[in-house]
């Protein structure tokens, strides 16, 4: 797909946009479904297909009769499916979050984590384990990660307020500064806490992993994510104008400050939600929007949906790799996204970008 794209002139890039969308969506479907066939426990493709079919509402019981081993069905339905769907949702949210943050900040090297989401979530997660908090039930870590992530973003926004407006460079710098402070707190707790030494949960969380996601975690996160991404996609025109500068956006009639609040809130909610169940998966939010722009041009009408599809595709592929490198171990997916993503992106930049980022 990328090879052919390299030969596109800019106007061809526009006319072939539709085909590229269809190809990437079909590819996502194929990759997501076939990922269920990969795993530590071998389950024959025939069985997997039967298990899939047995889940169809109303018609499923016609197929369930043929399933040989009940626990195989459980492996597919309770382990592989939520992990793969989790990867789809997380990838899509990180991709869209990246596209939106880059638009709001008018800066191609920003990503959702830079407004405090990652450091806040890490603080919440480490805190829950360090203190051994369980007041919020089995999902204390996830809930605290979500809450602290939102809190830190709120704090950064508040620190950046200047007479009713948030100058965006100011917020970026405040975000970086506060994140460093919060990360130091996290490091201090990690260093100092005997509770943390005995558990690998927090380390898995910090490295990013979709391998522990359950349906019970996934469903609320998926609902929040889908709603946020859908609403964000409705603002693609406004996000295009803000890329040209806030003054210009105001002059054509966009309510810039409300747009920033809406966009930052929705990105914070959705990215915090996915990070709370997966931990810190880096690189997707930075890179996927760029690949989308190289394929479709810069308008968010295309970049947002494309970032959702490509983010999902990228993360499901990374998940497959994470399960195949050193079986039966599953490598934390955050390690894979960095290790595969970075060389791939550098290759892509050199091959595709041409004069795109010349100055």
């Amino acid at each position: 797909m990328f090879k052919t794209l390299r030969h596109f002139s800019t106007s061809e890039r526009y006319s072939k946009s539709g085909i590229v969308f269809i190809i990437s969506f079909v590819l996502l479907l194929i990759v997501a479904v076939s990922s269920a066939f990969i795993g530590v426990v071998y389950i024959s493709p025939e069985e997997v297909t039967k298990i899939f079919l047995s889940q169809i509402p109303y018609l499923g019981h016609y197929f369930s009769a043929g399933i040989n081993v009940a626990h195989q069905s459980e492996i597919i339905v309770y382990l592989r499916e939520p992990h793969i769907l989790g990867a789809v949702i997380i990838g899509a949210v990180l991709g869209v979050g990246g596209a939106v943050i880059q638009s709001v900040f008018k800066n191609p090297i920003t990503e959702p984590y830079m407004i405090g989401i990652s450091s806040g979530a890490a603080l919440g997660a480490v805190l829950s384990i360090a203190i051994g908090l369980t007041i919020l039930g089995v999902y204390t870590l996830q809930l605290l990660a979500f809450i602290f992530s939102a809190l830190i973003v709120g704090l950064i926004y508040f620190f950046s307020l200047r007479s009713g407006r948030v100058p965006i460079v100011y917020m970026l710098l405040t975000g970086i500064a506060v994140s460093v402070f919060v990360s130091s707190l996290v490091a201090f707790m990690l260093y100092n806490s005997p509770n943390l030494a005995s558990t690998s949960e927090v380390f898995f969380w910090l490295m990013g992993s979709v391998d522990t996601i359950t349906w019970a975690e996934l469903i609320p996160v998926a609902l929040l994510s889908i709603a946020s991404v859908f609403i964000l996609s409705l603002y693609s025109k406004e996000l295009d104008t803000i890329q040209l500068g806030e003054d210009y956006a105001r002059s054509v009639g966009v309510r810039v400050e409300s747009l920033k609040i809406i966009a930052l809130t929705l990105v914070t909610i959705s990215v915090s939600a996915v990070v709370s169940i997966s931990g810190l998966i880096g690189f997707v939010g930075l890179v996927v929007p760029h690949i989308s722009r190289l394929m479709h041009g810069g308008s968010n009408r295309k970049v947002i949906p494309s970032s959702a599809i490509l983010g999902a595709l990228f993360l499901v592929l990374a998940y497959d790799v994470s399960r195949l490198v050193i079986p039966p171990k599953v490598v934390p997916i955050g390690i894979i996204t960095g290790m595969i993503g970075v060389p791939f992106f550098i290759y892509l930049l050199r091959k595709l970008a041409g004069g795109y980022y010349a100055d």
């Binding site: 295009d240 003054d247 054509v252 009639g253």
Partner: protein, 252 residues
């Protein structure tokens, strides 16, 4: 058209050590008001205050009698369009995307866009990355965008910079067309001859103060200009057009 469109009364704006104003002016429908003055005289700041991009410390601006402080961003954008000095698209918007952004506040957009692209003969630029355009092409696209916004007035910040002679003529022609369609233009120009050529009224600023304001031929006189720039001026009037020449200042 004699109806006053924009009225600014006793505007003042201070930041750090710079103080602009007090500036009072009024612009009628179909009028071209030029803003002139040396660098750092507050021309762009005045434009931004009028666009409500900067809040004035004192004074107020009304459009058709309504205070712009009370207008929604949408309503204000229907009244005033902005042609900034420069536009940068860090995330690769195409020319088409930039033009779409300019008509954000308009209803029924897409079919009008193609008509406009055809009218200005920029079909070949339509899908180009806006940042890959030459300085002149960028200016032209921005001007088309500002005209396209279909507002009652366009506020232009040096629309003639970076332009080749033919493009410069085209820009001046477009400003006249805007005026002839009954819309107003407030335009910052460095070139005194261009001010003389297309403006009905001119306001001259120096270090934030109004040095002169009035009909073009009354403002652009040697005595005023010599107060503003350290040069000597000679002005020739011939068959209704004006020509301003500047010389090194005579040492007294």
């Amino acid at each position: 058209m004699d109806i006053t469109l924009i009225e600014a009364s006793a505007l003042e704006y201070s930041v750090n050590r710079f103080h602009l104003g007090p500036v009072s002016l009024s612009v009628k429908g179909g009028e071209v008001l030029g803003i002139g003055g040396p660098n750092g005289s507050g021309k762009s700041t005045l434009l931004k205050v009028m666009l409500r991009l900067i809040r004035p410390t004192r004074g107020r601006i009304t459009i058709e009698g309504e205070d712009i402080e009370n207008m929604t961003q949408h309503d204000l954008s229907r009244k005033l369009a902005y042609l900034p000095q420069n536009l940068f698209s860090p995330l690769n918007l195409s020319v088409q995307d930039v033009l779409l952004a300019s008509q954000y506040s308009l209803e029924r957009k897409s079919n009008k866009l193609d008509a406009i692209i055809n009218r200005y003969g920029i079909e070949d630029l339509k899908h180009r990355d806006f940042n890959s355009l030459s300085g002149g092409e960028k200016r032209l696209v921005m001007l088309i965008g500002a005209i396209n916004q279909d507002s009652d007035a366009i506020l232009m910040d040096e629309p003639d910079t970076f332009l080749d002679v033919d493009k410069e003529i085209q820009v001046m022609e477009e400003i006249r067309n805007v005026r002839d369609s009954g819309r107003s233009v407030i335009v910052i120009l460095h070139d005194l001859n261009k001010l003389a050529k297309i403006c009905d009224n001119v306001i001259m600023l120096k270090s934030g103060k109004v040095i002169a304001y009035g009909p073009t031929d009354e403002v652009l006189v040697p005595e005023t200009l010599e107060k503003m720039y350290s040069a000597s001026f000679r002005i020739e009037q011939a068959s209704g057009s004006m020509r301003i020449d500047a010389f090194p200042k005579r040492r007294s």
